[in-house]
């Protein structure tokens, strides 16, 4: 029975990600054929530098979508936590060892606020997080006085740490993917999350309180947005009030390309990571072959729609 089950799950893993891996390889091959510059170390290094922030933010979004919610505030929460980090380091002169926890705590609190209000008053998370989107963005401008806070190497060194040729932010992102996937598929928490997204009432009548899981997931989404802010600040060596503008939609796109259902009850963190990679490769590749920004957006949009249609066929 055990061997039989293992057989099923291996086949499932392959089936689940075959499509995404195929699309990724096809994109890389196509850009490789179009331009000589693409298949170089610089390209992949630049992609690896770009994706850590959007990866961690998308992982939080994956969990939120799995419990049939949505978090539109992640971009703004990223802006606010980054702004707070800059304020602490530049204006208030607080040491890094305290500024980082403050930044992460701010994100987690925003997330907890989303979760608490959504669950307590049974308001759709779309509305609650739309409110938080404005609140956090406003607070981000207030705290930075609408200026970019230049931090410099006091934070920049994080992006320069490298282990075995891979930068620390990239490793953090990959580590978060692994942790997230483990949390989703192997733990009681993850199982409850999927069950809540499938049928919340059945979960409640099974004697499980769904609320702590819902609170935790919104909190996690806010926390991961703040982690994203930290990684972004390290790369930019600065914090700007505009950071993360529109990132909620990029994250949702990556999550949906990765095969997570907007209706809840089904999703994968690894799938989300592939979604992030596909969007990043597409963006970088199109830029290298000289496609202008409007055309890039148009093509990316088409890819999202096609990916979701392919996903539909894979499932039916």
């Amino acid at each position: 029975m055990k061997a039989y089950k293992a057989g099923i799950s291996m086949r499932r893993v392959l089936l689940n990600y075959l499509g995404l891996i195929g699309v990724l390889i096809a994109l890389v091959a196509a850009f490789g054929l179009c331009t000589d510059q693409f298949l170089t170390y610089q390209t992949f290094d630049s992609i690896a530098n770009q994706i850590p922030t959007i990866t961690v933010v998308s992982i939080g979004m994956t969990f939120v979508l799995i419990i049939a919610g949505i978090d539109l505030s992640v971009g703004s929460v990223l802006g606010l936590s980054g702004g707070l980090l800059g304020y602490c380091l530049v204006d208030a002169g607080i040491p890094l060892g305290l500024a980082i926890p403050a930044c992460l705590l701010a994100g987690a609190l925003c997330g907890l606020g989303n979760g608490y209000i959504t669950v307590r008053w049974r308001i759709p998370s779309f509305i609650v997080t739309l409110g938080m989107l404005e609140i956090a963005r406003g607070a981000s401008y207030l705290i930075t006085s609408s200026r970019t806070e230049y931090i410099g190497m006091r934070i920049g060194w994080i992006a320069d740490v490298s282990l075995g040729g891979l930068s620390l932010p990239f490793l953090v992102a990959v580590g978060t993917v692994a942790l997230g996937q483990g949390l989703l598929t192997r733990t009681v928490f993850g199982r409850y999350a999927v069950a809540i997204g499938t049928n919340e009432e059945a979960v409640r009548l099974s004697g499980i309180d769904p609320r702590p899981v819902q609170w935790a997931i919104f909190t996690m989404s806010g926390f991961l947005a703040a982690l994203g802010a930290l990684l972004q600040a390290a790369r930019m060596q600065s914090a700007e009030p505009n950071a993360g503008y529109g990132m909620e939609l990029q994250a949702i796109a990556a999550v949906v390309i990765g095969g997570t259902s907007l209706m809840g009850g089904r999703g994968s963190v690894i799938g989300t990571f592939f979604g992030v990679l596909i969007i990043a490769v597409l963006g970088t590749g199109l830029a290298q072959i000289g496609v202008q920004d409007p055309t890039k957006r148009l093509i990316t949009g088409c890819v999202i729609v096609v990916a979701v249609i392919l996903d539909h066929y894979r499932r039916h």
Partner: protein
């Protein structure tokens, strides 16, 4: 009235086959229908009855075989195409749009309109006429369907099948009823039977799927028995006895269930005192003992489901105390979570909506309430979880391809067994079953009855809500009767009779007619 044996065939199907992943649902089945007959289709769950009627109704396509309708080839590609030929089906599971009104549901797809604007008045009037015919005359056609009881919703479905055909101007020639009385009360069932007989008199061919033998014997002109995807027999109803039919269905003689009454009952496991919840449950008090099966009888809307949900903490209660395991202090049950911790279990009436995670596997469904016990530091022990699922599948004889099969692919009886397995894996002491055999076939029903009796024998307190009085009288030690939210009596086996129970179930309705409404509102 009864169709002549060699009357022309309205519909005939030859060598119909259909397979789903892991199951040969239909295996070269021949089937025919005559105009003006009631043709009963009986068999255990998974015997292929539903698949056969789904082929006729155009919902699924056969892998092999063909149909002739009036002697012409008939191969519907969709339900709409079947409906255009006058073939209508009332689904076993409710198929209404919850937020739309009764009238809108009846006329869905054929609403009377002028330039796209619905002619509400005309539609409601027409709906009212159809509703009166199926005994829903007292309801407002503009009422949203989600405000109705499940029994009433079922009648709306039937109204939609009969009336919808009128609206679509395709005369209803074949009507398929898949377990129409599963959630109807005796009175509602009578109205349905009258409707069926009326339609037969008009020459409509009716395919009637039911697990209730007394209905089949009463209504059917011919009976087709199916087992494991094959047709076992087709014969005029008068030539088959109930025992013959059951024997053909299960392929083995079925022993009768006998519950040894009485002496198992021990200490009080659950005491409910003065429990009230809104207008549904009023001042209900009773005791349930270890080792007894306590049945709850009553009409639709008598508050039995609401009472059970309140005991289980699923709905907030206004007043009253719940005492468990002989304790003199009231138990604090404010959520199902508290209830489960205190050793209660509730198997809800609505399996699909509240009992199961349909897309999830059997394994995931069974493990859900005990995940925390199956985990170490929050990580689920996959091997232990699979072992639990495999053990449960064997213990409860769940028919499935593997523990990884999604619950949505199982038949009703097997889904119910999954829900039972899910709860029995936890060591609950007081188990509440709300309509445990609704829509379940004779064989699985027998298994579930045995299981309930086995639980009582193991000193559990078992509460069973059922609309099937004969079922309660077969398995229960005592029967509590509810009427409009109040408990009107508890009868032990030695004192009960169908007449007494019905009298208690109706007692408050009769009072209400004598002008006791004011009393109702003041409580």
């Amino acid at each position: 009235m009864i169709a002549h044996p060699d009357a022309p065939r309205l519909l005939s199907g030859a060598r119909l086959s259909k397979s789903f992943p892991g199951v040969q649902a239909l295996d070269a089945v021949d089937f025919d229908l005559q105009a003006g007959e009631v043709h009963a289709l009986v068999g255990e769950n998974g015997a292929g009855k539903s698949t056969l009627v789904r082929l006729i109704a155009g919902i699924v396509k056969p892998d092999g075989g063909h149909f002739l309708l009036d002697g012409h080839p008939y191969a519907p590609r969709s339900k709409a195409e079947a409906e255009a030929h006058g073939i209508r089906m009332v689904m076993q599971e409710l198929n209404l749009i919850a937020n739309l009104s009764i009238a809108e549901n009846i006329f869905l797809g054929a609403m009377p309109h002028r330039f796209g604007v619905i002619r509400t008045g005309r539609m409601d009037a027409a709906a009212r006429e159809i509703m009166t015919r199926v005994g829903l005359g007292e309801l407002d056609p503009a009422l949203p369907v989600n405000r109705l009881s499940i029994g009433q919703q079922q009648m709306v479905e039937i109204a939609a099948a009969v009336g919808g055909a009128v609206a679509a101007r395709a005369r209803c020639r074949i009507l398929i009823l898949d377990e129409p009385t599963a959630s109807l009360t005796a009175t509602e069932s009578e109205m349905l039977f009258a409707q069926v007989e009326l339609l037969r008199g008009r020459g409509v061919a009716i395919v009637y799927i039911s697990h209730r033998m007394e209905e089949v014997k009463r209504l059917a002109d011919r009976i087709t028995v199916m087992r494991d995807g094959r047709r076992i027999a087709t014969a005029p109803a008068r030539e088959l006895s109930t025992e013959d039919i059951i024997g053909l269905m299960v392929g083995r003689p079925l022993s009768r269930i006998e519950n040894e009454p009485g002496d198992r009952a021990g200490d009080v496991a659950l005491r409910v005192v003065g429990l009230s919840r809104g207008r549904w449950v009023r001042e209900v008090s009773f005791e349930a003992h270890r080792g007894e099966i306590l049945g709850f009888a009553g009409l639709m809307g008598s508050g039995r489901t609401e009472l059970m949900r309140a005991i289980f903490g699923a709905d907030r209660l206004d007043r009253g105390g719940i005492f468990l395991h002989g304790s003199t202090r009231p138990a604090r049950i404010r959520s199902p979570r508290d209830a489960v911790r205190l050793g209660l279990a509730l198997l809800t009436e609505d399996r699909k909506g509240q009992g199961l995670l349909l897309p999830a596997s059997i394994r995931e469904n069974i493990s859900l309430p005990q995940l925390a016990q199956l985990a170490r530091w929050g990580w689920v022990d996959g091997a232990a979880e699979t072992a639990l699922a495999v053990r449960s599948i064997q213990q409860f004889c769940i028919k499935c391809a593997s523990a990884e099969q999604p619950a949505s692919e199982l038949s009703g009886g097997n889904q119910q067994k999954v829900v039972i397995a899910k709860w029995l894996a936890r060591k609950a002491e007081v188990l509440i079953f709300d309509e445990p055999t609704r829509g379940i076939d004779v064989g699985a029903r027998f298994d579930i009855h045995q299981l309930l009796i086995g639980l009582a024998a193991r000193r559990k307190a078992v509460l069973v809500v059922s609309s099937d009085l004969l079922e309660l009288m077969t398995i229960c030690d005592r029967i509590a009767v509810m009427s409009l939210g109040r408990l009107t009596g508890i009868l032990p086996r030695a004192q009960w009779s169908q007449e007494k129970i019905m009298a208690l179930a109706l007692s408050r309705h009769l009072n209400a007619k004598q002008g006791a409404f004011t009393h109702d509102e003041s409580v």
